[in-house]
């Protein structure tokens, strides 16, 4: 079984905003694109054009329908799921070969594929479903937090972020050091009441999720209520240009 490094002060991870995520899967697709061609590739796709296509993804988005509750209207919640880079990850300690390991210097959990024997114990141990087994290659894969981007001196500094963070069109994903209380994402977690997933299991996940803010329900009869009265509109009050425009568009 594999031992963990001494606790690190640097805890790199993601903060994911469930309030602004729109479920577009851009993070998942950008992740797959980068990592298929990066050091963790290939991310194999089986039965790609058949009845049950199935591939390796380091990031998956689940969309849930939430029933109305008290004064909260029914809503849709999109939940992106990837490795949480736990402080005390069961997927590492369960590994019989040392293939699964946690880095002392920044807390990223990685798999050394040369040592992986494909026993899948780590995928059984991980309660978050973050492990992705490649049946074709016979090895376990997982989110690398884009370790080959964030320290990569061959790409511009502004791009040294995980591909999922870069791709998100609503800026619902944030990357940084959650071990540093003064970092921008630690502050964000404090401001928005960010939560860890299933902390009661004891694996001390590093990533945080920002809960969706309260939605307001419309009036109960919104769908059937009569349409609001049209605004009183007197074109004569307009200036001559707008009056002409109104005439032209009203024809």
């Amino acid at each position: 079984m594999t031992s963990l490094p001494p606790p690190s002060t640097r805890k790199l991870g993601l903060v994911i905003d469930l309030d602004t995520c729109v479920g577009c899967h851009a993070c998942a697709v950008a992740c797959k694109e980068w990592n298929a061609g990066g050091v963790a590739g290939p991310l194999v796709d089986e039965d790609p054009y058949g009845a049950q296509p199935m591939g390796v993804w380091f990031n998956r988005v689940h969309s849930y329908e939430l029933d109305a509750l008290d004064d909260q209207p029914a809503m849709t919640l999109h939940f992106p799921r990837s490795c949480l880079h736990c402080d005390t990850p069961a997927c590492v300690t369960v590994c019989p070969t040392g293939a699964s390991y946690k880095r002392a210097e920044d807390g990223i959990v990685l798999v050394d594929e040369d040592k992986c024997i494909g026993c899948k114990l780590c995928s059984w141990a991980c309660p978050y479903g973050a492990r992705e087994y490649s049946q074709v290659d016979g090895v376990m894969k997982k989110c690398t937090l884009c370790v080959d981007r964030i320290y990569n001196e061959h790409i511009p500094e502004a791009q040294r972020q995980p591909a999922c963070v870069q791709a998100c069109p609503t800026r619902a994903r944030h990357f940084g050091d959650l071990g540093d209380e003064d970092s921008a994402i630690s502050q964000l977690v404090r401001e928005r009441g960010g939560v860890p997933l299933l902390p009661e299991l004891g694996y001390a996940p590093v990533n945080r999720y920002l809960p969706p803010r309260a939605r307001r329900a419309g009036p109960a009869d919104e769908a059937t209520a009569p349409a609001p009265k049209e605004e009183a509109f007197d074109p004569k009050q307009l200036n001559p240009l707008l009056r002409w425009l109104d005439r032209a568009l009203s024809r």
Binding site: C24, K32, Y49, P53, V147
Partner: protein
């Protein structure tokens, strides 16, 4: 855009809508369709990755609408518009309006399209609302499109719904497109970058925080015994 000749004189008053009495009463529900955001990542919409996100779609109904029509989750319904009908699978969802049904656009495919295999769910269970939407307005005098943008009138569709016996496949079905399906072998994009030995030697060592490049690697992977 040029007005097409009317098919036959209509009794409807001015306007391009259905004749009086044939609108809301005959077709009480709005039907919406929307391209999934994950299909915008490639306008071609069906590649080997994106189709793993959704290979089929459902018609979503509010529970009250489902109850009114005697429809349960997983049932099939027949939708009729003024133009045509489709028979499709249903899912129930509270996060929508009772007077509206909706589905993802762009997932349903004619069999053989995109070189998908004949049993691909896009062709057997997927569907579009397109058959319900006419090219011309019901009176036949104008293109059924926004007069300014030319955008098809996707959001103007009204339908009625009835529970249907589950068919083997969503209806209508068209003759499959000719041509062989794509290879069913696994795709290994990126495999070429691994190099001949397939080694991951560079993986943990090259990418380190600047202040940790010296001396930490051995701690990072305590059981590491491989020689460089």
């Amino acid at each position: 855009m040029e007005a097409a000749p009317a098919a036959e004189p209509s009794s409807a008053p001015a306007g391009h809508l259905l004749p009086e009495g044939e609108g809301k009463e005959r077709f009480p529900l709005h039907a919406l369709t929307q391209r999934p955001p994950f299909m915008y990542h490639a306008w071609g919409s069906q590649n080997a990755w994106l189709r793993q996100i959704a290979t089929r779609n459902f018609l979503y109904l509010h529970p009250a609408t489902a109850r009114d029509h005697g429809v349960a989750d997983g049932d099939w319904v027949r939708l009729d518009s003024h133009h045509d009908s489709i028979t499709v699978p249903v899912r129930i969802a509270t996060n929508m309006q009772p007077d509206t049904v909706w589905t993802w656009n762009a997932i349903g495919k004619r069999r053989g399209a995109w070189k998908l295999s004949p049993d691909a769910p896009e062709g057997t269970k997927g569907f579009l609302l397109n058959p319900l939407i006419s090219d011309l307005t019901p009176r036949g005098d104008y293109a059924n499109a926004d007069p300014v943008t030319g955008q098809a009138a996707w959001f103007d569709l009204r339908v009625r719904m009835a529970k249907a016996e589950p068919p083997d496949e969503s209806l209508p079905q068209y003759a499959p497109l000719a041509g062989a399906a794509a290879s069913d072998q696994p795709l290994r994009y990126g495999a070429a970058f691994r190099g001949s030995g397939g080694s991951r030697e560079a993986f943990p060592k090259d990418f380190q925080p600047a202040d940790a490049k010296e001396g930490v690697a051995a701690v990072a992977a305590p059981t590491k015994s491989r020689t460089p």
